[in-house]
């Protein structure tokens, strides 16, 4: 019975069907399935599958995003139950995400956020055109493990360095891992500005984040 349901749960994520994933999450609560089992044995299997397929070029961005959304919806439904049990899903880490000041491009960053939260990270996406103090302030507020910064333009990528410099100046650099991304970002750039990592796509960003929090 549970096996059947786990399969259905994974399928609802693969189908990117939030209505279905929420319905299954509610059903799990009704039949007193352990919410952590529902997540790890059911829904997560679907996310991993779509992630793999995407990596192989066999799934596409809309499917990836919809799977992420369906995952988020299912977890949100199960969350109150987990709290009641006094347990919590193991959080991979807390990530503050932003597109840097002067830059309003956000598709890539949003994708990274979707995939990170689908993979068990707690994501605080503070949007676009975010100045250094706002990014750092949020990281301190939520006790983040990782700060992720996006920039699409060569003219705005320098702002990523400003945030790192600011962290240095305030003696906070050691407290957060900093990752960068965006079209113009290269290995040379992230090394030059002394970030902790970079990725060119959302799947790579999840892998990187897991490595940085020691969960991979």
């Amino acid at each position: 019975m549970s096996e059947e349901m786990y399969k259905e749960m994974a399928q609802s994520i693969i189908d990117g069907d939030s209505d279905k994933s929420v319905e299954l999450a509610q059903k799990a609560i009704e039949i007193q399935m352990h919410p952590l089992d529902a997540i790890t044995k059911g829904f997560v299997v679907g996310v991993n599958y779509i992630g793999d397929q995407f990596g192989k070029g066999e799934a596409f961005l809309p499917e990836l995003v919809m799977a992420g959304e369906a995952m988020k919806a299912a977890v949100a439904t199960l969350d109150p139950e987990l709290r009641k049990l006094g347990e919590a899903r193991e959080i991979m880490g807390r990530v503050v995400l932003a597109t840097v000041e002067g830059d309003i491009h956000e598709i890539g960053k949003t994708l990274v956020g979707t995939m990170l939260s689908a993979s068990g990270f707690e994501v605080y996406d503070i949007g676009v055109d975010a100045p250094a103090d706002k990014i750092i302030g949020k990281a301190i507020e939520v006790d983040a493990n990782i700060i992720g910064m996006s920039a699409l333009l060569t003219t705005t990528m320098v702002r990523q360095r400003e945030v790192i410099d600011e962290l240095e100046k305030e003696g906070l650099r050691g407290k957060f891992k900093v990752i960068v991304g965006g079209a113009p970002i290269t290995r040379e750039w992230y090394e030059k500005i002394k970030a902790d990592g970079y990725s060119e796509d959302a799947i790579g960003a999840v892998k990187l984040a897991k490595e940085l929090v020691g969960k991979e």
């Binding site: 596409f60 994708l111 290269t186």
Partner: protein, 492 residues
Amino acid sequence: MQPKLTLLSDELIDRVLEEAYELLRCPGIKVQNPEAWELLAEAGAAIHPENQVIGIPASLVHKALESAPREFYLYDYDGNPTIHYGGDSVHFDPGSSGITMLNPETLEHETTETQHLLRLIKVAEQLAQYDAQSTAVICHDVPKEIQDSYRLYLVLLHSKKPIVTGAFTNKTVQEMIDMLALFAGGAAASRAKPRAIFDVCPAPPLIWSNFGAGNLIALARAGVPAEIVSVPLSGAAAPVTMLGTITQHTAECLAGIIIHQLARAGSPIVWGGAAAIFDMRKGATPMGAVETAMLDCSYAQVAKSLGMPTHTYLGATDSKLVDAQAGLESGISAMVGALSGINMISGSGMLDFLACHSAEKLVIDAEGIAMAKRMLDGVNLHTDTLATGFYDDKINFKGGDFLKQKITMQLFRKEQHLPSAIIDRDSMRGWKEAGSLDTFSRAKVIVNELLASYRRPEIDSGKIDRLHAFILDFAKKAGAEQLPTLEDYQPA
């Protein structure tokens, strides 16, 4: 709405037909086949035996056009109608009758043998863009007398798709017709659901040779589809002007249709060709020239004005390697052919003026065809409102909003052609990680994958054994004791 490319006005088409009728009457058509001569003479054409020329009156044209079918289908092995000759249907098949093949490692053009044809068949069988197989290269490892029928045998053995083929003599066309009948379960079955179509060429200017006309007559009588491949060369074997060439092409096709329909009214026949300009620097026949594509688009318009099914040779290149020239000539000309609504477009995979084939190019050309087919599919209405319906209360004015819509997931595959690994849209890093491969190198990888995944389709082994005995008999008569050994078929 299927987008359409047209180059001729209705008025010009009328003038082309008018002058083609005039050419048929005077100077007339040189007819070198006694049976065709007889048929035309009996039908009332004006014969001039002193120079083998026949003047054909308009009345014979009208009669032939009355009986020629406006559409028909080719069928796959399982009997499904998969190729529609007629209207603006568009299909592609690999080019035919190459004599060399590009070795992807040495880049040499090797003389083709059994293994080369098998390589092409196996690749084309697995590419959905090719609706038909072709007898793509000549196998020089069998006696000359069976080189045409042997190619057909290999395709019948290794494919379920319909076949574009052709015979090299008047004797072998009958043998090949018999092979198809044997495979279909009788002549009537072969006629009812034809598996193959035969290319038949007039010789420019205005000649129907003994062999060409003989093939037309044999095919008509068997009810096996024939495809006229008229090959005028602007400036050498046809007038230098495009309109002059198109008019000569029209006259050659009409003459062929008349001979064919006189042999058996109602047999299926296609208005086709491999027209080209004549290159004035090298004396070559460039298949990748834009004018060649323009000639084809134009003669297809003439055919369509008469409601006839159409064929052409496009999607090929004159380059010797699978390089940038190959890509641009093949891609552009395939697109022109598709937009012209030509029913069968032959030529993919071919290099060097249709002399050389390449499996790697076949794989790359499949992507060009996919793009052309996407173009043909046009811009479609999928939703009640064009845009307003997309902006619901969940819109928060962010760039990724539409990625999160269910309808995006439902419709993106309909709106976008998702290219194969031939097309690189990777990031710089991803491309480097994958080996920094160029298009040709990626095609080599895919060809190897396709060769590895190929399985010979399930085909009635009784039929195959009979076919094998049939072809072995031909081979023995031609002086060969055995046929080349095949990896995946050992005769009983």
